[in-house]
Amino acid sequence: MPTTIEASKPESCEAKNGGKFSRRTLFAATGAAAAGVVALNAAKQWLSPKQPVFVAKNQRYDGPLRQTISDGLLATGFQPAHFKGKRVLLKPNLVEPTRLAPQLTTHPAVVVAAAAVFRDWGAQVTVGEAPGHVRDTEMALVESGMKAALADADLPFADLNYENVEWTSNRGGASKLAGFYFPHSVAKADFIVSLPKMKTHHWVGATLAMKNLYGTIPGIVYGWPKNVLHHAGIPQTVYDINASLPKTIAIIDAILCMEGDGPIMGSPKQMGLILVGPNPTAVDATAARIMNLRPDQISYLDLAADRLGPIDDRKIEQRGESWRELVSPFTILDAPHLRSLPADPTVLISKISRATTVTA
């Protein structure tokens, strides 16, 4: 176990914003061991069959979400037996909740439905989150509506900001961090299910299943916000965290979403979708396309491409609905580092949205 947190030198603003990386330059700087792992992963990706992603439309928070999620998991290759007796950690996004902006956080109905599916299949289910900004985790649970929902469903909650931690080596090697202190509930999980909200992100374009896993990192070691990660590069640390975690699964709450100045101050956008898949990179790439964003322009997806999973549509097997018929452009900020994101150049890029500005 190292004696320091090993924060690297801060990246430039351009680097932080994810606009000026190439995978070649990034990985040229990493160690031989990490490069070997990455090369092996890349080879596996090319040899492996297409990654499945399931998309369901016409979804509602008061609808049969349990059935949808079960269908999605079964359609993307999972079987109930995979989860029997396993520890499953559900990780929603509760970044900076306010009950006045439900587009900010994963809806409790999605979390409860997912928990019911995994419980039915014999798993030990825990919900866990390390809210990125607020120190008062109970406040985050109350404001997001999660506290009451978890109590009703008799679901245990792990406060990942304050748990005991365990050291894990950085298996990605994109950032200079030697490893991560993961909370006990994360380190011991057999499956970590990323349950993000579909949102734009004003630094890196979009926050989906991969970025949501920043919330597996404990504030008690990394701060509120987890500034150590920011200084080590957001795209690189998103990649590294995903590479270093136990087996991950993605279930995206894309029913009520956020566009504009995400991930905190954006406006609500109704989509009515649920996305499910065993590979968060592939699921995020599909979600980005639905948002009319180019996956290869989202820097952490570009890093992950063919290492952690595919972002090329030809390498993704669509199950359920076709994403092409579901594309509904998300507005993004008119900022230089975001202008290359839209897939359709005719889409107007919004000015900063003030529609959801709320003061208590």
Binding site: V134, R135, V142, I220, W224, P225, M265, A360
Partner: protein, 294 residues
């Protein structure tokens, strides 16, 4: 109150009852016990903090980590309170080393940019060394320096300037930013409360200070969670406000905390909030009308 103090007697404290010993709940429990004149009961907490202190003065957050050092200011305040009450006879905490450690930590500055609304050149204190400064670690550092008499230290003065700079124009503060990419952020009770404690007694005519008091007065209610409620009430008490309903809110919050598995952090903060303006976090740190903030 006596029920609550009994829950705090077992040292060291974790974030949850029975979890790994942690510096923050242990320091705040010590402060709460000292504020209630339970000097003997605070001794085990102080002893643990002393034993947990690293050679460089740092007090890390968990028993088996050696950094980061963001709880160090809370330990300094706890020992300042103990020293004030001559309650440290059996404890060898190195306050001088803790002070040196604290002064060795500084936030990484940001070049002026239209992307941010705050003054990124103010140094303040980060959560983790080598990163940018934020509201709460700066507030606790300012409180620590004030608690050992360094009201006019240049770092204290700059810390106060940072805390006021990071208040939102409409009052209250976010965890640290004010405006990002042209968008004003939302205020939160917990960082606003602790920031107001840290700047209490400062001669500032910045209207955002009073607006922050008004924000807290409007934001607190009987649904406010224990940590936010406590810091919110402490922020108000430091500025001579104590809402009529505060006692009821605290009582309800304590019943709620006691009903579930009691968190020592929640209990300690509720006790400190119940002590109001007599809380050592305030009595030791409220500035004696130092130079005006510019």
């Amino acid at each position: 109150m006596s029920d609550a103090l009994e829950l705090l007697r077992h040292a060291p404290c974790g974030y949850r009852d029975g979890s790994t010993p942690a510096a923050e709940p242990t320091a705040l429990a010590a402060l709460a016990l000292l504020g209630a004149n339970r000097f003997g009961d605070a001794q085990p907490h102080l002893q643990w903090l002393s034993a947990h202190q690293a050679h460089d003065g740092c007090v890390p957050p968990l028993g088996d980590l050696n950094q980061p050092g963001w709880p160090t200011p809370l330990a300094i305040v706890a020992f300042a309170a103990a020293n004030h009450d001559n309650a440290t006879a059996t404890v060898n905490f190195d306050t001088e080393a803790a002070k040196r450690y604290l002064l060795s930590i500084s936030g990484k500055t940001l070049e002026p940019s239209p992307q941010y609304g705050h003054n990124g050149q103010l140094v303040g204190w980060p959560w983790v060394d080598g990163t940018h400064s934020w509201q709460e670690p700066t507030a606790t550092a300012v409180l620590a320096l004030k608690s050992i008499g360094l009201w006019d230290h240049p770092r204290t003065r700059e810390g106060v300037r940072l805390l006021i700079d990071r208040l939102l124009v409409t009052g209250g503060c976010n965890y640290g930013n004010t405006v990002v990419l042209g968008q004003k952020l939302r205020p939160h009770v917990e960082p606003t409360g602790i920031a107001l404690v840290a700047i209490a007694g400062e001669k500032s005519d910045d209207p955002r200070v009073d607006r922050s008091v008004q924000y807290l007065l409007g934001a607190l209610n009987n649904e406010t969670t224990p940590i936010s409620l406590s810091y919110g009430l402490l922020g108000l008490a430091a500025h001579d406000h104590f809402p009529d309903q505060a006692s009821n809110w605290l009582e309800a919050a304590f019943r709620h905390v006691k009903y579930k598995q009691p968190s020592p952090l929640d209990v300690a903060l509720l006790v400190l909030a119940a002590q109001g303006s007599e809380c050592p976090l305030i009595t030791l740190t409220k500035s004696p009308s130092v130079a005006a903030v510019t």
